[in-house]
Amino acid sequence: MTVEQDVRAQTFARPAEMRVETAAGLQWAQEVLALTRRWYLLLIRERLNLVFSIAQPAIWLVFFGSGVDRAIDASAIGTDDYIAFMLPGIIAFTIVGGGVAGAMPLLWDKEQGYLDKMMSMPIARSSIIVSRFVFQVCLGSAQTIAVVLVAVIMGVRIESGVLGVLAILVAGGLLALAVTSVFVGLAYWVPGHGTFFAITGFITLPLLFMSNAFVPLDTMPGWMEVVARVNPLTYAIGAMRTLVLDGWEMSVLGAIAVLALAAILCLAAGADQFRRKTADRV
């Protein structure tokens, strides 16, 4: 056999160890890992996008926070450090923006045919969205750490300490899971990307303003407080704010529990939309 024939034979003959299927769990892990690598590469190749998405929340803290700080009535927000007060709001704001951006690659895949391509491969469908959720939660955590660092540099003291920062990451991760699920579900639901951007553009700011991101619940008009209380953002921000301003309190656990429940509901809704989108297939 010549070398050339040998190479050709290798290209077409399935190697012996591949004739036996590996365990389904291992295959699933390999798929999730491979797709996560894809999401990671797609993100880091757009360096400016990466820089801006990390710098933007810091800029909010520096310019908006510093500017508004003196105009705020300390007795209304319960602290004289508005930057510390708004830090959880900025984290939530970042995570909501990240959720919209996080659904976009799935939207492109749906519109540009790569979803179809993946569907004709022998992969578990769940690995497509699970990899995306894993990735978004990690990205959300990285952004949260960046914002917290900027805040600390600006003089904010996290009352609950380093463990508190971990708890903030848990709250941020759950929030990222919830909002990403909603926007991923939306990406699969819309007929085209125009609708996706129209809807996300419309709801992201109200979602933020109808929460305790920038003002405490008790200073809101009654109707607004009602809306804010069913908004999962309020619970994420509430937990984080307590951790930043007051330290460890029981209310943190309660808020995280509500947030976890919201994340599970949103995840179920997003996964259901994904199932529907792919239900016409076998």
Partner: protein, 316 residues
């Protein structure tokens, strides 16, 4: 001949439109088999059903011995699928795209890099492996897709319009690649609306129109069934000439497509032409132009559907 791809009575409608209507297919092991038809004939819908992307509403399809409805996972594991449109891959290098897909096909991790290089090499893309996908030309993107179709050592490779939008040189490259797969025992199903592609590449093909299989056979057999030669006549009195030619012993059949010409299928043009001239003079049918050629698959299509495939290509 064992069938690698077989379909019986396949049906798929979209609303009132029957995209695929009672389609039968039998593709033997090691064949290059074509689905030839105009755009909208139901080729892609058929392929989507065979690749488990779309559920048939009636009928059965087995690919590599597995039912596409009942064991889609087994089917996906054994096929390579290259879609009509190149899927968006974004700012990844060619190598990264292929490695990620190799992992999705569960190539063992230590082998992923080597496997990616093997298939990239096969399509001549190894030298460009580390460039970004977004920088590739249309032909290079297509070659990358073809490479990915081979990652899992497929028994059957299903290609939807593999040379759509490619320049002549790239098309010949793709054909050469498909022939080389056949030599390695891979069964290939290609959907195409290019006559020359179907003619030169396929061992057998099914002509499909309005979702129905019109005729199946080897290209040479199909052409032979039309007749030895096709005489094309441009005349000012087609009806009169047609009436005169009908019933002549040398005329096998006559078709009048929309192009204003008569197509007369004959055994041997050298015998038919003098007789045709004679008839024209006798019946006072002035002929502006008479040409003859050997039949093509276009004639086969015309014979069975009354329309020309070529016209549809022009529109599409």
């Amino acid at each position: 001949m064992t069938a690698v791809i077989e379909a019986e009575g396949l049906v798929r409608s979209f609303g009132p439109h029957r995209a695929v209507d009672q389609l039968d297919l039998h593709v033997g092991r090691g064949e290059i088999f074509g689905l030839l038809g105009p755009n909208g004939a139901g080729k892609t819908t058929t392929i989507r059903m065979l690749t488990t992307l779309l559920a048939p509403q009636a009928g059965v399809a087995r690919v590599c011995g597995f039912d596409v409805m009942r064991q889609p996972g087994e089917v996906r594991r054994r096929i390579g699928h290259v879609m009509q449109l190149v899927a968006w891959r974004g700012l990844l290098t060619g190598r990264e795209c292929v490695e990620i897909e190799a992992s999705l096909y569960h190539i063992p991790r230590p082998r992923v890099r080597k496997r990616a290089e093997e298939v990239l090499d096969l399509v001549g893309m190894l030298p460009h492996a580390d460039r970004l996908w977004t920088e590739y030309s249309g032909g290079m993107k297509k070659r990358l897709d073809l490479a990915c179709g081979l990652l899992n050592y497929p028994e059957a490779l299903i290609l939807d319009e593999p040379s759509l939008g490619l320049d002549v040189q790239s098309r010949h490259g793709v054909w050469e690649y498909i022939r080389s797969l056949q030599q390695e025992g891979v069964t290939v199903l290609i959907a195409t609306n290019y006559l020359d592609e179907a003619d030169r590449l396929c061992n057998r093909l099914t002509i499909i129109d309005h979702g129905r299989a019109v005729v199946t056979g080897a290209p040479s057999d199909l052409k032979r069934s039309v007749g030895g030669d096709v005489v094309q006549v441009m005349t000012d009195a087609p009806q009169r000439l047609r009436a005169a030619v009908e019933g002549q012993p040398w005329a096998k059949s006559i078709i009048e497509p929309d192009d204003g010409q008569l197509h007369i299928y004959v055994e041997d043009a050298s015998v038919a032409l003098p007789a045709l001239m004679q008839l024209g003079v006798e019946r006072d049918a002035r002929m502006e132009r008479v040409t003859y050629s050997q039949p093509t698959l276009d004639d086969v299509f015309l014979m069975h559907t009354g329309r020309e495939l070529r016209d549809q290509e022009a529109v599409a």
